[in-house]
Amino acid sequence: MAEPAVLTSADDQSTDMTFLFGIMELCGATRLGYFGRSQFYIALKLVAVAQSGFPLRVESINTVKDLPLPRFVASKNEQESRHAASYSSDSENQGSYSGVIPPPPGRGQVKKGSISHDAVQPRASADQQEPASPIVSPQQSPPTSPHTWRKHNRHSSGGNNERPLAGPGPFWSPFGEAQSGSSAGDTVWSGHSPPPPQENWVSFADTPPTSTLLTMHPASVQDQTTVRTVASATTANEIRRQSSSYDDPWKITDEQRQYYINQFKTIQPDLNGFIPGSAAKEFFTKSKLPILELSHIWELSDFDKDGALTLDEFCAAFHLVVARKNGYDLPEKLPESLMPKLIDLEDAADVGDQPGEVGYSGSPAEAPPSKSPSMPSLNQTWPELNQSSEDTAIVHPVPIRMTPSKIHMQEMELKRTSSDHTNPTSPLLVKPSDLSEENKINSTVKFASGNTVADGYSSSDSFTSDPEQIGSNVTRQRSHSGTSPDNIAPPPPPPRPQPSHSRSSSLDMNRTFTVTTGLHIHTGQQQAGVVAHPPAVPPRPQPSQAPGPVAHRPVDADGLMTHTSTSPQQIPEQPNFADFSQFEVLAASNVNEEQDDEAEKHAEVLPVEKASDSASSLRVAKADSKTEEKTAASVPANVSKGTAPLAPPPKPVRRRLKSEDELRPDVDEHTQKTGVLAAVLASQPSIPRSVGKDKKAIQASIRRNKETNTVLARLNSELQQQLKDVLEERISLEVQLEQLRPFSHL
């Protein structure tokens, strides 16, 4: 296609004709003498680059992301808009529809030389008038978004993503009039006409977009790979809103839809039901299309990959069959207008979701796990979790008050319950933890949330969606109860109740360990259980990564890496969270009672035991390294509690402890921690404790804490290792993605 005219209009915004020429050169058009599809796409991308002020280089196509869509002065002319839409759909619609969408075609906008930004404004105003600005500017929301338009929008925005350029592409929203849809649909079907003559492009700026995209679509249809980025989805929605009058060649007209529905009823009377694959196969085989094509149509239309067709999917499949029979080539990706979400047009969000989802799935590097029968694998989940969590790399250990006073316990309870409901992936920023940060591994989000203890425990923002978190939360509570200073009685801590926490148990265990130390474990059971399971794969980022120093804890981790961790378990009950206790205890000197618990636990782990309970707790903390703060706090607290020696970790825990002991030396980080802990321990003495009477209990608890510490240390190291592995994997995948991305359109 000869695109000089296109470019002219397209480059209204660009400052210079030189840009145009440069772009033409870069995209290879000058070499070829014409703009092929790929050249066009590249050119559009370069226009966006140029408009954004980046240097015009070939690499910029791929490297510059989040470019605003190139701004083109959109003509109000229907014709033009139509063309624009079609072209835009051809071109990189996929571009990041991030936000900056070319403002509605400004009337009489300066075509050339107008600075894109400047143009935006006038355009925006101009936009209002046009229901369907040729240039898709998602910013405008059309007064109405007719059903059909939405389809168009989706379709057009999804566009042609055969070459998913990273940058924004000119997003022309092919707004189609709803009413004209039917006619447009017919025309679409009947004729593929070549793209409208170029002069339309020229007048692009002035004509309000109107009607249906017709012929452009046929050409574009084939190339359209609906690569919808999430951004594009949103913009698509908006564009839709703009009441564009473009017709989407893939749009299903009302009559067609009615016909499809009738056909659906003949197979499946219930409109909300499914058509099984076999019935669909027979039905579509009647169309006498080759099996290969039917197979491809099926792949496109069975959106949820369940082997059955819903009404939407059936309509899409039927539409594709009809298209194919009329000579249209099948698209590589399902056009937006045929996406099963078509029904919900009213809700932009819904539509957006769909394209977004599609877009995501379209990316070559990522296989949409929509129906993937993926094998359960931790590695896989971790990266996903990581990505999902806001704080991917940072897990803020939520300091848990190990020695929960009644009040704290109640707070914890509240928090825990609330946090349990919270999205595990959401970073638990709530917690005032300083620690956190480091928990890359899904540090128990829940811990974080649950632990938002007012006492200023640093909460770890871990996005762990692990059950551990929950467990830890639970345990935390227990520990709280246990750690009330009141109970200091040195009676052996009640066996940790939750031996069965599976992943969370590790965290829980930590908690319980810590709790035992000073906490007494009122709740006893809970903590015990927690301790029981040493890290069952705790996604928690326990390991000491916690970079965030526990602010509120004075102890902090001087050197302790804030094992932010996983300590979502910040629950005060986790004495184990040695991380906390380690840091906290020492530094903070009984900032928190809870920390004592942790400290106690940690103490066990760390050989530094000798020091007072605090020392032990510190060590424990180190092992856990997650909740630095907690540990610090808890340690002192625990120590003070002293009395409540760590409840004998549940049997399973004990075993782990032993193994951990062996592993202790393996933990490098722990060594660091130990160092820090030692320091902390030194400071520990400051922690007030009712040591006097608890000497024995304290020693017992110290022992327990040591055990806990070893277990936790081991757990910590394991988790850290896992975290590292996962991170490496993630990095490699990202690299692969990056490598693949530029080539996806080639």
Binding site: G277, S372, S377, N379
Partner: protein, 139 residues
Amino acid sequence: MAVCIAVIAKENYPLYIRSTPMENELKFHYMVHTSLDVVDEKISAMGKALVDQRELYLGLLYPTEDYKVYGFVTNSKVKLVMVVDSSNTALRDNEIRSMFRKLHNSYTDVMCNPFYNPGDRIQSRAFDNMVTSMMIQVC
């Protein structure tokens, strides 16, 4: 990053095989064929236990000087074989696993298509695209 990916049916005939360097395809075909013996050996070794307990991912089947061959078997005894370049040291086991996972998912999607008869060659474009994305990008 694979150099060659193959899907072998239960009866040990290929359903899909594709290699990146277009030349030397026969060599890869031969490697895949020889790897089937190793796969069978691993299956039978594990097969004593219940099928459920059997791990789907088989791991490294055998290394050669230039290439490493990894295997994966599904519950329906369909085998996925992947040949990777030995020089690609950055490729870790987890990555191989994830690649197999993706392959498995794509294979399942192909199976779900009613127009696909099990035992036919796989001609799905989506599957092709997915495999392409995994092959070494030499462009």
